[in-house]
């Protein structure tokens, strides 16, 4: 029954995620210890693998690109109070928009093909999120349920589209035709040899621009103001004359369009064709990224880098320490997601209590709250 007051902003944004992360690493360290390896050595390998040399760093950035997009996608919806967990499916389906336009324009130049394909991916990804948004706004079907279902529909649809529509008759593998050079996004290694053979490409610039776009959208536009009002207090947005149903559909569409940018990175930047399951779970990692980054672009940037580093460093780990298997890496990644995403509130009550001890005006406020609610 202790009265709770919110944490100061810096503690919420910096301290809490760091504590969660520390706990995740601690438990991961125990796991590594249990399989008989040295956790400190493992940390060293992960850090070196993720940041220590050009190829590794390139891979970290490549993963981070995807996570920025899906993290932003989740964050935009979250600001409007919507829990969009369909980023995976939206990114996947957006591959259709990307590949169709990229294939059509791959005889021209990437400067034309890339923006056009971005629009295509945004439209398809946005549409895939618009439908659950519409169902939520007009029919009251909860987006959490519908977006999960749409992930499965997306998976089935893509198997069909790739195998039956996009696969050239000449190939056996379930994949689309390969893009000519004009339809490919340039690799950073073409400009900086530092990145070795890593697949980090110009999509990362799009990701950085998307961070700025979301910042401006959420905090500097009237639409963003309306979205935040809806997210914080749907009665207040209705009172203010905003159409909640329209805002829900708009927020979901923007969210899906952002998730759809993953398709540009993967289809045009890495695979050069549309393959099955190219999203590889980025949509779900994006949820953890957004939660850890407190739905703020700056936080999302750092959280995406962290997860990119974990992905890349984890790959490295299994090569260097044979005792740590691929499954082990998944466990460690899962622990980080668990503690920073699903259980991000673990330390919150304790931290709030601690802060209350040091903050008189918070204590005073807590008193007025708790006396009003005091029970016999």
């Amino acid at each position: 029954m202790s009265a709770r007051t919110p944490l100061p902003r810096w503690a919420d944004i910096v301290l809490l995620p760091l504590l969660n992360l520390a706990l995740a690493f601690l438990v991961s360290g125990l796991v590594v210890l249990m399989v008989g390896e040295n956790p400190l050595h493992a940390v060293q390998v992960i850090i070196y693998g993720a940041f220590g040399y050009g190829d590794g760093f390139g891979y970290t950035l490549y993963y981070a690109t995807n996570f920025i997009f899906t993290g932003l996608a989740f964050a935009v919806a979250a600001h409007a109070g919507l829990f969009n967990i369909g980023g995976d499916g939206q990114a996947y389906v957006a591959g259709l928009g990307a590949i169709v336009i990229a294939l059509a324009l791959d005889q021209t130049h990437w400067l034309l093909a890339m923006p056009a394909a971005m629009i295509g991916a945004a439209l398809v990804g946005g549409f895939w999120a618009f439908i659950p948004g519409y169902l939520q706004a007009k029919r009251g079907s909860h987006v959490v349920i519908t977006t999960i279902m749409f992930n499965f529909i997306a998976a089935a649809l893509m198997v069909y589209m790739i195998n039956r529509v996009l696969k050239p008759a000449t190939t056996m593998a379930p994949e689309s035709a390969t893009l000519a050079v004009g339809g490919r996004v340039p690799q950073l290694r073409q400009f900086f040899s530092f990145f070795g053979y890593s697949p980090v490409n110009l999509s990362i610039v799009v990701a950085l621009l998307a961070l700025v776009f979301v910042y401006v959208l959420v905090w500097h536009t009237k639409l963003g103001y309306a979205l935040r009002t809806l997210g914080q207090n749907p009665s207040a947005s209705r009172y203010a004359g905003m159409s909640n149903s329209r805002l829900i559909m708009i927020a979901m569409t923007i969210s899906g369009a952002l998730a759809g940018m993953v398709a540009i990175n993967e289809v045009m930047g890495v695979q050069n064709r549309l393959v099955l399951d190219f999203v590889a779970g980025s949509g779900f990692v994006g949820i953890a990224v957004a939660l850890m980054g407190r739905n703020h672009p700056v936080g999302i940037l750092f959280a995406a880098l962290l997860f990119g580093a974990l992905y890349q460093g984890g790959q490295e780990l299994q090569f260097v320490i044979p005792g740590v298997t691929r499954e082990m890496i998944v466990v460690i990644q899962a622990l980080v997601i668990l503690f920073t995403g699903a259980m991000e509130g673990l330390f919150r009550p304790a931290l709030e209590r601690t802060f209350m001890l040091f903050s008189p005006e918070q204590k005073a406020r807590a008193v007025s709250v708790s006396t009003a609610e005091s029970e016999s």
Binding site: K222, T229, Y239, A240, G241, S359, E361, S374, S376
Partner: protein, 535 residues
Amino acid sequence: MSESDNMNPQRPKTAAAPAPASRWAIELEKINKRFGAVHANKDIDLKVERGTIHGIVGENGAGKSTLMSILYGFYTADSGTIKVDGTERHITDSRHALALGIGMVHQHFMLVENFTVLENVVLGAEDSALIAPSLKRARAELERIEDEYNLVVDPDAVIEDISVGQQQRVEILKALYRGAQTLILDEPTGVLTPKEADDLFRVLETLRDQGKTVILITHKLREIMAITDSVSVMRQGEMVKTLTTSETNPEEIAELMVGRRVLLRVDKGPANPGKTLLEVKNLVVADDLGVVRVKDVSLSVRAGEIVGIAGVSGNGQSELLESVTGMRDQRSGTVVVNGRELSLKGDDGAARARAAGLAHVPEDRQHMGLVTTFEEWENAILGYQDAPEYGGGPFLDIEAARRKAAEQIKRFDVRPANNRLKTANFSGGNQQKIVLAREMGRDPDVLIVGQPTRGVDIGAIEFIHNQIIAMRDAGKAILLVSVELDEIRSLADRILVMFDGQIVGEADPATASEGEIGLMMAGISQSAAALEARP
């Protein structure tokens, strides 16, 4: 803190209460409580005489709740002594307080809605693991208590089926069943009709006459004058003065509470009604569950007059307000603002209502009129965010919004004067000023105001009332809804009484008695009410 399962309440000893060891039921001496830098209670001395009704008044944040929480064992004082019946006690928690005979009736009832009265009374004070024998014993005990204090409630009625006034009696019964000798009531009349409040006062008087001690926390001076024997005034954590009620007057108490002279009566000249600015015809409105809450209501408000809607809360006033202001699809009927009929279909009707010149101060500012997690300036533009002055095109001109916020803060004396502060950190009165400043600031033709002074301090009430009168005198049409009958009577030029979704009568505040309006609020027709209210 729930009452523990193994608690064995001290039962009241019939009639033969232990001989009073002291004249004072409760004595607090030099109570201090600090929360960090905030000194919530400064050297508080309070003596409550046994067998009296003792009022405690003070503005929000004056420290009344903290003090009562200390007495009830919710907090422990930093220093000072508490004596119960002349014996010094160190009250550790509310269970301990109960064992010492101190019971509390909270503003928000702690009842299980789908349990019977008897089950609620026994809950947490069962004698054994088996419920049936407990209930049987409790029934006999409850009947005895009901008899003794003339506090009749059907023990087998289910809580959700009985009126709010009856529910409050159950709370009192709960405390008495647990052996309370001293009852603390926190703002008990906030949810009651005037008639129910009178009934409560009669119950409290009976309790007093039977030797119980009652501590009444309230902000309504009328109640203090009507019921208490003595009254203690608190201000900013200090006990200002304890007065004998019969030797004081409301003006003196108000002055002590606020620290300056307060005008309790609203000073207003006669109304000069002009042309009709708001016209509601045959309005039928359903709530979220589809239950019709407003049944064929028609009313009109002219320029330069205040029309008050009186009624016990929950009789359709909220739905009426929400419909007229465009927040709720109406079933049928029309709303005409300034000669323009509003289409209220769709979920952005509030924007169209605003465009027609209607401003709305909602009943529940925290859940509707404000986004409490926003900074103040963000709330200063809520509802007007699309106005060109806050930026053309898609962008929000944050500087313009902050300038506007600063302007409003200055004009309405919002404190602290900081538009970057989170709105939740403003006090209730200042939050209300933020809403009023925003809604009155756009020079609307029609102003709809719901519960303008709910949870607002006396000093701010005066200010808010004067602002509303000023709007009227500027030729605006004002529709006022309040559950505070005093407020309606002092502000409105015409009173409409709402009961069960209908306007059941109209009264002239200058001539209608409170009893007459009160009876109409209880659903008795105007003619019958006029007859019954006549002595």
